[in-house]
Amino acid sequence: MTLHAALRVQRAGFRLSLDLTVEPGEVVALLGPNGAGKTTALRALAGLEAGGAISVNGSTWDGLPAEKRPVGVVFQDYLLFAHMSVLDNVAFGLRARGTRKAEANAIALRWLHQVGLTEFARAKPRTLSGGQAQRVALARALATSPQLLLLDEPLAALDASTRLRVRSELGRHLIDYPGHTLLVTHDPLDAMVLADRLVILENGRVVQQGAPRDVVRQPQTDYVAHLVGLNFYRGVADGTEVRLDDGGTLTIAEPAEGPVHVVFPPSAVSLFPSKPAGSPRNTWQAVVSGIEQHAHTTRVDLDGSPAVLADVTTATVAELRLQPGDSLWVSLKATEIHTYPR
C-alpha cells in the first residue's frame, strides 16, 4: 500500500512540483528552508489546498475535500479546540466520522492512555504544558486511524529541554504507527532522529533525497551542507588536485576525476598566525569575517580562496586574539577532505 503523491501547486511567484512516495510504516521528513513549499505540500496532501494527485494502493484522493480524506494532521501550534475538554478534542474526529459517543470516548481514552495523559481527560487544553498539548494533538490525529499522518513542525513550538523528551516520545509513537508518515520540518535534528528518509525541498523542488546517513555524508546543495554543518564546494578534480568553481585549489588524498562535490568538517581546519611549516598540504591565507560562540567550540567564518568555516577551541581564540578583519593562515589535511561525484 505505497502512497504516491504528485503535488503541483502554482501560485504567483511560486511553483511547487513534488513527487513523493511513502511506504507503509515509513517516516519521510520533508526538510527545507522557509518558503521552500513544505507547508504548501502538507496542505495539498491534507486537501486544504488544491493541486495534488494522490493515490494509495490504486484508490485516488484527488477530488476529495479535506474532511473525506483518511488523513491525520498535527499542526505546528496544535490547534486544539480551546472550549472542549482534552477528551472531546481527541474524540472529535471519531464523532465527526459518525462513531457513537460512548465508543468514540472509549477510543479517545485509550489514545490518551497511550500518550500518558489519562488524568487530563477532563482538563481544558489551555491548562496543558506545551509538551502535553503536543501529545494531545498527536492522539487527536491518530484516533481516527488515518492512512496518512502529517506532522507540521511538530516540535517547533516547544522549548529546548521539553523538545528532547517529546522528540523521543514522538519517535516511539511513530514506530508503532502502521500508516504513512510525512514530517515537515526545518530542524535537521528532528528529521535525522525521526525519519527513515529525508526529502530536501528548495524553491518548490526536490534537491536531494535519501537515508539520513547518506544525506549527512554527501550533501548536494549549500543548504543541505549548511544543515549538516560541513564546508561544501563544487569543483573539478584532476587526480589529487581539485580546482574549486568559486576559486582556490585543494589537494586531496584519494585521487578523483571530473566534476565533484568537496566536503570537510569545520573541525578539520586549523588556524595559524603565520604560514605553517610542515605536513598539511593545503594552506592558504584568509580574513576573519565572523566569530560565533558554540557550546564548547568557536566557529570562525573566514573569507579567502576558498572561504571556509573553522571550529577552533576557546584556547585558540584566546591565543590568536581573534578579531574580525584579522588575516590568518588556514591549514587543512588532505586526508580530511571527502569528494564525491556530482
Binding site: A66, E67, L79, A82, F92, A96
Partner: protein, 259 residues
C-alpha cells in the same frame, strides 16, 4: 509633575459630562416616588412592558436565526461583492428608523410588493399587528448583531476550521462545534446590543405597526403617549427603560468599559 490641566479642554469636558448626566438625574429627581409602586403595576405599564419584552426578545430571535448565518457568509465565504454587501447590511444602522418603517410599509403593507401576495394567498397582514412590531424591531436591530458577530468571526483563526476539516468534520458540524463556540462572546455581545436596540425602537415601530395599546404599544410608544396625558406615568415608564439600559450596560461592562 505635568502642568495644570488646560481650561480650554476641562471646561467643555465638564459641560459635556453634565449634558449627558443631568437629564438622567432629572428623571430620577422628578419621579413620583410615592405613587411609583402603584404606577409601576398599573395595567398600562405592565401591558406595555410585557409587550416590549416579548417583542424585543422575538425580534432578537429572528435576528439570531438570520443574522448569524449572514455574518458567517460575510466573514467566511468568497462571495463576489462581499464588501458592498457588508456596506448594505449596515444601512439600517444609519437610516432614520422612520424611513425604515416607511420602507417596510411599502413592501409588506397590504398594497406592498410582497404584502399583497401575503394578504391574497395566506390572508396574512403584517402592518399594525404585534408581528409587525417584531419585524420593525428586527429590521432596525439586526445590523448590530451582524456587525458584532462578523467582527468576532473575522478575528477568529480560520485554521481551527481547517483542523476540524482534517478530522473529518463537515462545514456545518465545524460551524456548530468549533466556529460558533469560539465566537460566543461576540454573539452574546451582539445579542444584548440587538435586544437593547429592539427594546428602545420607536420610529419604525410607530410607522409600520402603529399605536394600539396591548397590541403594538411598546414602552417607548407608551412613554411618548403618556407624556401628553399623564406626565407622571411617562416618567415611571422612562425610569423602567433606564433601568433596563443600565442593566444591559452592566452586563457588557467587560467589553466596553475598560480602564
Amino acid at each position: 509633575m505635568r502642568s495644570r490641566l488646560p481650561v480650554v479642554l476641562v471646561l467643555p469636558a465638564v459641560v459635556g459630562l453634565a449634558f449627558l448626566l443631568v437629564p438622567l438625574a432629572g428623571l430620577l429627581v422628578e419621579a413620583p416616588w410615592t405613587s411609583l409602586p402603584a404606577q409601576l403595576f398599573s395595567t398600562e405599564v405592565v401591558q406595555a412592558l410585557r409587550l416590549s419584552l416579548v417583542c424585543a426578545s422575538l425580534a432578537t430571535v429572528v435576528c439570531l436565526v438570520l443574522g448569524v448565518p449572514l455574518a458567517w457568509l460575510l466573514a467566511r465565504s468568497e462571495l463576489p461583492g462581499r464588501g458592498l454587501l457588508r456596506a448594505l447590511v449596515t444601512v439600517p444602522l444609519v437610516l432614520p428608523p422612520v424611513v425604515g418603517g416607511v420602507a417596510l410599509l411599502l413592501v409588506l403593507g397590504r398594497r406592498g410588493v410582497v404584502g399583497q401576495h401575503l394578504d391574497q394567498w395566506f390572508g396574512i397582514s403584517l402592518p399594525f399587528t404585534t408581528a409587525g412590531v417584531v419585524l420593525a424591531e428586527a429590521f432596525v436591530a439586526m445590523p448590530f448583531l451582524v456587525i458584532s458577530v462578523e467582527g468576532a468571526l473575522r478575528a477568529a483563526d480560520p485554521r481551527y476550521e481547517e483542523a476540524a476539516a482534517t478530522l473529518g468534520a463537515s462545514r456545518w458540524l465545524t460551524f456548530r462545534r468549533v466556529t460558533l463556540p469560539s465566537v460566543m462572546p461576540g454573539v452574546v455581545a451582539g445579542t444584548v446590543l440587538c435586544w437593547a436596540r429592539a427594546l428602545g425602537e420607536f420610529g419604525a415601530t410607530i410607522t409600520f405597526a402603529g399605536n394600539f395599546p396591548g397590541r403594538t404599544t411598546t414602552m417607548p410608544l407608551a412613554v411618548y403617549l403618556a407624556l401628553e396625558t399623564d406626565p407622571d406615568a411617562a416618567i415611571v415608564l422612562s425610569i423602567v427603560l433606564l433601568l433596563v439600559s443600565v442593566a444591559v450596560l452592566a452586563g457588557l461592562r467587560d467589553r466596553w468599559i475598560r480602564t
